[in-house]
């Protein structure tokens, strides 16, 4: 079994988008997500010596992050408990205090859709690890952030044809990686 090495100097470039998307769908607040990831990196640094190399760095960071997210939920829940308002939920004889409580969910977006999209996002980000650092950076800028071709060319000092070759390679690799489960 190959032993996975740890290199904290590369954590941000390699895993921050992955960790961020994992977090944002769970906490739904950019600032909170940012803080939780900071805490995860610091906790990772503190327990680096416990990393045995059996899992990948990313899996190990995710396991720390999951605990941080749970702690965050606990904290917000305990705060909520102090200011809790008892809501009269509906039973057979009354309709409940808050009519919103009875509002139907949006029919065009089900919980399954949300879960599937989340899984898809994670699958794409995992496949992006097969790309070189430069390919991943350029592909993300072009596809996710929607930068103009010219802006990316200027930033990386490449020609538009270089850019399209990089995009082509990235797209081919990603399509191959996603083909089995998502095509």
């Amino acid at each position: 079994m190959s032993i996975n090495k740890i290199d904290p100097n590369k954590w941000v470039d390699k895993y921050s988008d992955y960790l961020f998307n994992f977090t944002i769908v769970r906490v739904n607040d950019r600032e909170v997500a940012h803080d939780l990831i900071s805490e995860t990196f610091l906790a990772g640094l503190k327990s680096m010596k416990n990393f045995k190399g059996e899992a990948t760095e990313r899996t190990w960071l995710i396991s720390i992050l999951k605990r941080k997210i749970i702690d965050h939920y606990r904290k917000t829940n305990s705060r909520k408990g102090k200011a809790e308002i008892k809501i009269q939920y509906n039973d057979d004889s009354n309709e409940g205090d808050w009519l919103e409580e009875n509002a139907p969910d949006r029919f065009d977006k089900t919980a399954e859709d949300v879960m599937e999209n989340e899984e898809l996002g994670i699958a794409i980000l995992e496949c992006m690890e097969h790309l070189t650092e430069k390919q991943a950076k350029i592909f993300k800028m072009k596809t996710i952030d929607g930068f103009e071709t010219e802006a990316i060319c200027n930033e990386f000092d490449i020609t538009p044809s270089n850019l399209w070759v990089i995009i082509h390679r990235a797209r081919t690799t990603l399509a191959q990686c996603l083909e089995k489960n998502w095509f």
């Binding site: 954590w11 988008d17 944002i24 610091l42 640094l45 596809t143 996710i144 797209r171 996603l178 998502w182």
Partner: protein, 85 residues
């Protein structure tokens, strides 16, 4: 007009047009030439359908990226912790 040169393109050019099309950057002539190429090239038809599907999945996934500022804060935090050790 030199029909052969302008109308018929090879696979690499078809792929180039197909990639540009994913970002709405292919011109009309490029799109037409690509479509013509797809009529007789099975391999490029497969690439094109995969490429379209990838675009669809990317949109559906709603992936977000971190800003450079956010990354900077994390990097500095890690650097500080490592030097303090």
């Amino acid at each position: 007009m030199n029909n052969k040169k302008t109308l018929f393109i090879d696979c690499s050019e078809a792929a180039y047009c197909c990639d540009k099309k994913q970002y709405n950057e292919a011109s009309l002539p490029e799109k037409l030439k690509m479509l013509l190429h797809l009529v007789f090239c099975k391999r490029c038809r497969k690439y094109s359908s995969h490429n379209n599907r990838l675009t669809e999945l990317m949109e559906k996934s709603n992936i977000k990226t971190c800003t450079e500022d956010e990354k900077k804060v994390w990097k500095e935090g890690i650097k500080k912790e490592l030097t303090d050790k």
